[in-house]
């Protein structure tokens, strides 16, 4: 057996993760060609690198098929019920920062807060005969946030990509999406509500609470956490 570490399989998130571990004396890398999702680990024994899509890492952690995983806090909270019972946050990694926010058209000069959004939603429903549509892929978090804040008369519509374009395309009236700089929102004539920050997310190293471990794995985990200065 070995300790399985799940890491995003491509892009900046993968490179930054490799850098973060590299700075702490553990070299991660992809084996073979760019198309092959196999990896290697140097600087510690008995750790196996598993390259996965960042979106699948929460599920793999929950199932205990990997012991450690790097993914965004936003994805863990979206995909796992009672996430804090399933995984432990070991360390925020300081990159991949993104905020999950609620945004509306900039031209809605009368809507700047959740209170405004709620009132506009009530009027919208009366005028148009259906509930105001908010496009997102973060259904759970957005719904919980709006419920906690007492916003009514809206509906969530699923949008797995190009969410910022849904308002212009008239498939939604508002959006809830991840943004890091806000540039894409501005380019699409959208603004963030003053109290519309749903979650601050960043790439985080998680430990699966329920993954089976042999004694040797426990020793490996202790050694690894010591090297990462997380013990």
């Amino acid at each position: 057996m070995s300790l399985k570490l799940g890491v995003p399989s491509k892009g900046r998130l993968m490179e930054k993760t490799f850098d973060w571990f590299g700075d702490r004396g553990i070299e991660l890398g992809r084996a073979g060609s760019d198309r092959e999702y196999a990896g290697y680990v140097q600087g510690i024994d008995n750790v196996e690198l598993v390259l996965l899509s960042a979106g699948e890492i929460p599920r793999e952690l929950a199932a205990g098929r990997i012991h450690l995983g790097v993914t965004g806090t936003d994805l863990v909270r979206e995909k796992l019920g009672q996430w804090d019972r399933v995984v432990e946050e070991l360390a925020p990694l300081g990159f991949g920062q993104a905020d999950l926010v609620l945004a509306v058209p900039t031209v809605w000069v009368d809507v700047n807060t959740l209170d405004d959004l709620d009132a506009a939603a009530a009027a919208f429903r009366l005028t148009h005969g259906f509930r105001m549509r908010i496009a997102t892929k973060y259904h759970r978090q957005v719904r919980e946030f709006l419920r906690d804040n007492g916003v009514a008369d809206y509906q969530l519509v699923d949008s797995q990509g190009a969410t910022e374009g849904t308002v212009k395309n008239e498939t939604a009236e508002a959006i809830a999406d991840i943004t890091s700089t806000g540039d894409t929102l501005r380019a699409n004539h959208l603004k963030i509500l003053e109290d519309g920050l749903i979650l601050r997310s960043q790439a985080t190293l998680f430990r699966a609470r329920r993954a089976a471990m042999e004694e040797a794995d426990r020793t490996t985990l202790r050694t690894l956490l010591a090297k990462l200065a997380l013990d």
Binding site: V107, D115, F124, G150, A152, E173
Partner: protein, 361 residues
């Protein structure tokens, strides 16, 4: 895991009790058209119900409750007055708590009667009260109608009253609105700035999306009118707080509400209805001096009830959800009936919990 056969037997016993009291057994489909329920309950139901679909019928929901299909069935071809009973599984999606059931039996009773609503309330409550007597549960009661009457009685604009009435079931936003309308909470800076602008649309950027400029301007007009409205008086805020604070045995609660009605005469008819209901309950042998009443009961989790509300709790098992809940839902029938309304009251028992608590026999 409680034995399914035992739960079915308990459900059959409960249903037989309701039938013996004159309720007619009915069945509904497990798959319900999602649109009606989504329109009625909004996004919250999506979090609580399982949704599936096919190419022919579109989105379908695994029955999250019986009330809506029973009301629809009655509105289509029921004679009045009518009393129905049913039993079967309901399905509730659970996203957070693995200990909560996602599928369980309900046995219910629904009563449609225009003539004497308070007597109907008492009849449904007594049916469930008597059936559950062996379990020694605590009954909680309330009446959303009193708070609704109080909101309607406020000396303020219709628009403010509508906004408050819309949020009766969301106490946090209700509170925030009261704070703002009474002048206790400050106007957000962005709103003050907007209202001060001579041309609010100047430099606003391109018009995108379905919500039109006319809609934006109409809301700004409403905001301006609202900013010029006098605050709701301290006195009226205190009266609403006094109503929300009523938590007593029913006989004492009635006295407190009568006192409040002296200062807020518009709630008198709603308080009278409470008095008639208590008389009707007494006539059915229920001791109202031992029956708890809480004016804010049912505001957080019983959104479609708009009058009498009740729940039965096992006091030594705080981990369990209520064994039975129910109430009056006239507004729901109004929405489902597109203008037609059938005063209705009903309640459901969870036989699974009855078995957990030792059963009725």
């Amino acid at each position: 895991m409680t034995d399914r056969a035992a739960i079915r037997a308990e459900a059959a016993r409960l249903r037989a009790l309701f039938e013996a009291e004159g309720a007619r057994p009915v069945e509904t489909a497990v798959l319900q058209p999602a649109e009606v329920l989504l329109d009625l309950y909004g996004e919250d139901i999506r979090a609580r119900a399982y949704i599936t679909s096919d190419a022919l019928r579109g989105e379908q929901m695994l029955r999250p409750d019986f009330t809506v299909p029973v009301v629809q069935m009655h509105m289509e071809h029921g004679a009045e007055p009518a009393c129905y009973t049913y039993s079967g599984e309901v399905f509730r999606r659970q996203e957070d708590d693995p200990d909560r059931a996602n599928e369980y039996m309900q046995v219910g009773v629904e009563l449609f009667d225009r003539t004497a609503p308070e007597a109907a309330d008492a009849r449904v409550f007594a049916l469930i009260y008597n059936a559950l007597q062996p379990l020694g549960l605590r009954a909680a009661t309330g009446d959303i109608g009193i708070l609704m009457a109080a909101v309607d009685a406020l000396r303020t604009t219709e628009r403010r009253k509508r906004a408050l009435a819309r949020h009766i079931w969301r106490p946090r936003r209700f509170r925030a609105l009261m704070e703002r309308y009474s002048g206790r909470a400050k106007t957000p800076e962005s709103r003050a700035a907007l209202l001060a602008k001579p041309d609010p649309m100047a430099g606003a950027g391109p018009m995108i999306g379905l919500r039109s400029e006319a809609e934006i301007l109409s809301r700004i007009k409403a905001l301006k009118e609202d900013a010029a409205t006098d605050p709701i008086s301290e006195n009226e805020v205190a009266l609403i707080d006094a109503i929300l604070g009523v938590r007593e045995t029913s006989d004492n609660a009635l006295e407190q509400l009568r006192d409040i009605a002296v200062d807020m005469p518009a709630i008198q008819p709603a308080v009278d209805r409470l008095a008639w209901r208590l008389e009707a309950l007494e006539a059915r042998g229920i001791e109202i001096e031992n029956l708890d009443f809480e004016a804010s009961y049912g505001r957080t989790n019983m959104e479609y009830y708009d009058g009498f509300v009740f729940g039965f709790y096992a006091e030594n098992r705080p981990d369990l959800p209520p064994v039975a809940t129910g109430g009056r839902y006239d507004a729901l029938t109004r929405q489902l009936g597109q203008g037609r309304e059938i005063p209705a009251v009903g309640g459901v028992v969870r036989p699974g919990l009855v078995v957990d608590l030792g059963g009725l026999s």
